[in-house]
Symmetry: C2
Subunit: 122 residues, 2 copies
């Protein structure tokens, strides 16, 4: 699978899972994975899932605007996403950007080694 | 230098150089460096500098809002920036986000291996 195709497939899977069954995101991380969410740092599957499932909203809808991808010097790919996030009770969506470093695993799949998320406030 | 300190120092240097003497950014890249600027991909110092110096504005002012940093599995660090960009003749600044993978070199300095930039339009 070429990097751009993998990036698009991953981004689709990630936000669909986030919006529908957030606890299932754990399958995309490993023990060495890092998440920085709005400046809060977490490491490892359990801490990352605990953070993502404790966010102060139950429902959300990510709408992806752009997906950029580059090969990483570490192997795998860097994926950079911009888009908007619709939260319940909010009139306007919030803009966000997020980056991932995806690493392949021998079985042909991949996981998230690095994940940094930021809202882009007005 | 710890990663957060390096990230802050790099971000300060990068945007100060960008805003004051953009052509000098070449010293921060190497031949294997990659830039994706608003979806346009460039590789290598010359192509990257040519892209950055040909942007359709002469003056600009980056204002950084957030800097996040994680160690990369490839060595070096991943730096994720959000902020705003004031262009001449524009009433309002444009929001942007940008990521870098910085790699160290034996002399104790570092260079940009990966660079992805996006404006976050309203």
């Amino acid at each position: 699978m070429n990097p751009d195709t993998l990036a698009m497939a991953f981004v689709g899977l990630y936000y669909e899972t986030f919006d529908k069954s957030r606890a299932d995101l754990g399958s995309l991380y490993r023990q060495g994975s890092m998440l920085t969410f709005e400046g809060v740092k977490k490491k490892g599957v359990e801490a990352i899932v605990a953070k993502l499932t404790s966010l102060p909203f139950q429902q959300c809808q990510h709408n992806v605007s752009t997906i950029d991808c580059q090969p990483s010097g570490a192997g795998g790919i860097l994926v950079f996403v911009s888009g908007s996030l619709q939260l319940p009770g909010e009139q306007y969506p919030l803009k966000f950007s997020e980056m991932f470093h995806l690493l392949g695993i021998p079985q042909g799949s991949f996981y998230v080694l690095n994940d940094i998320f930021r809202l882009n406030y007005a």
